[in-house]
């Protein structure tokens, strides 16, 4: 059962303030905002990777299983894809099933550096899914992919999210189209120090369109 609450976050330099938000099961949040505003820092804070964060800033993290798709694949380059996924506790059968899900059934014994960027990211995604996360964090999962590869990955992630409706997701992106495809909730981080300017639920495609127009206005402004 996911119940993550993010209290006020304030750090020394990269300042993110006034995040007072809860993440519930089934929330598919896209986190948007200008580059350098602290989106990745917020994600790292949620993942527990910000050592100087005051205790209690993120409540409930120790009760949930959390997976993180980093911008780089962060697979161990000296272990095969299979070994990498087994290291987080998956059985051989699970590895095969997950790799089939992400379209890498033939690459279990490959080393990460033998894969293309998009394939390595899908392998990392399989590792995320291997721990059956309650909350999946993704940092710019479509960055540096060409439009076709990005589209494929977006469809894949959408299908994976649909197959587990109680799973929550927070995805950092700068592309409103990703938000339209994946999110049922939008966060927009802006200002100095950065605050959560919007936290909006999206119901249905129409609202996505309206919100996207507003977003484009903000992003382009």
């Amino acid at each position: 059962m996911l119940e993550l609450r993010i209290e006020r976050l304030a750090y020394d330099r990269t300042v993110v303030e006034g995040i007072g938000a809860s993440v519930a099961p089934g929330d598919h949040i896209c986190l948007l905002g200008p580059s350098g505003i602290g989106k990745t820092t917020l994600l790292n804070a949620i993942a527990g990777l910000v050592p100087w964060l005051p205790a209690g800033a993120v409540i409930g993290r120790d009760r949930i299983r959390l997976a993180y798709l980093f911008q780089e694949h962060r697979l161990l380059p000296w272990r095969t894809v299979r070994q990498n996924i087994r290291l987080v506790g998956a059985s051989d059968e699970t590895v095969d099933r997950l790799l089939a899900d992400v379209g890498l059934a033939d690459h279990a014994e490959s080393l990460p550096d033998q894969l293309s960027l998009g394939m390595a990211r899908r392998a990392a995604l399989a590792r995320c899914l291997a721990i059956e996360p309650d909350l999946l964090l993704m940092d710019e999962p479509f960055a540096s992919l060409d439009a076709d590869r990005a589209g494929e990955l977006r469809e894949l992630i959408r299908a994976l999210l649909a197959s587990r409706p109680d799973r929550a997701m927070i995805c950092v992106t700068h592309d409103p189209a990703d938000a339209a495809a994946l999110a049922n909730r939008l966060w927009y981080l802006d200002g100095a120090p950065a605050t959560l300017r919007w936290d909006e639920r999206i119901n249905g495609v129409d609202e996505v369109g309206i919100l996207l127009d507003r977003l484009r206005g903000v992003v382009l402004a």
Binding site: L49, R74, W78, L87, Q114, L117
Partner: protein, 264 residues
């Protein structure tokens, strides 16, 4: 210690005969000189071979070689274990590094001979003093190399390990060891070369067995043939360790680098 610890870059193929020129030439020059000068101070290769055979037949060679190798092995294992622990610790904790670095510089610059003499004076001419002297000389080198390795550990993989809750032993085996391996190999290579030289000095100054002791005895009667015989056998053994142990180990552990990457 100057060996490259970087990934070997792909270089043009070396002609296979190129390695087999220098040593035969050296041997020929030596033989010519020895025959021309005809002095016991420069014995011929055949004299040295006979000396080696004589020592081997009497069992002396194997005995002293074994004693020396045992000292090398014990000192090596201790120095690597201590140096690795200290180096990784100093590489990961900047305060500890700031505190210990002056000590490290001090011991790096302490002449091996001074350590050996002092330990013999303080502990007597005993085995412990001998091994300890070698260890004290070697630990700083291992520490410096492994500190470099610990500093180069990829923080992004640490974050990944934090997210997925890797245990200490998982981190050690799957994250740290593969990254530290080139540094461990560099420390091992430099370590063996340094340690066996220091062990000989230690034996020469205060032990009654081992190759250093035999060299000392031969030196006192100017028996150059025996000196060269022991030296050559020892060089051969060290090379054997390199070929039989170190090179296969290195090949196996770095195999993942050479499988060709689609992207860096």
């Amino acid at each position: 210690m100057s060996r490259s610890i970087a990934t070997p870059a792909s270089s043009p193929p070396v002609r296979s005969w190129a390695r087999w020129i220098a040593l035969p030439v050296l041997l020929a020059v030596w033989a010519l000189l020895a025959h021309g000068l005809a002095t016991p101070l420069l014995p011929t290769p055949v004299d040295v071979g006979q000396a080696a055979w004589r020592e081997a037949a009497s069992g002396e060679l194997v005995h002293h070689l074994g004693v020396t190798l045992r000292r090398v092995a014990i000192s090596f294992v201790l120095a690597m274990a201590l140096g690795t622990a200290l180096g990784v610790f100093m590489g990961r904790h900047s305060t500890a590094n700031a505190m210990l670095d002056p000590l490290l510089v001090f011991f790096l610059n302490l002449p091996a001979l001074v350590t050996i003499i002092l330990l013999y004076v303080w502990f007597g001419l005993v085995e412990t003093a001998a091994v300890l002297a070698v260890v004290i000389n070697k630990v700083p080198n291992v520490t410096v190399t492994l500190r470099e390795g610990a500093r180069s550990l990829d923080g992004r993989l640490e974050q990944m390990a934090n997210v997925y809750g890797f245990t200490f032993s998982q981190r050690a085996r799957h994250i740290w060891l593969p990254q530290l391996f080139p540094y461990l190999m560099a420390a091992t290579r430099g370590g063996l070369a340094l340690i066996w030289k220091i062990v000989l000095v230690v034996e020469l100054l205060g032990r009654s067995d081992g190759i250093g002791f035999k060299l000392h005895m031969a030196f006192q009667v100017f028996d150059v043939a025996t000196i060269l015989a022991y030296s050559l056998v020892f060089i051969a053994v060290v090379q054997l360790v390199e070929i039989v142990l170190l090179q296969p180990l290195e090949r196996r552990a770095s195999a993942w680098r050479h499988t060709g990457g689609a992207h860096a």
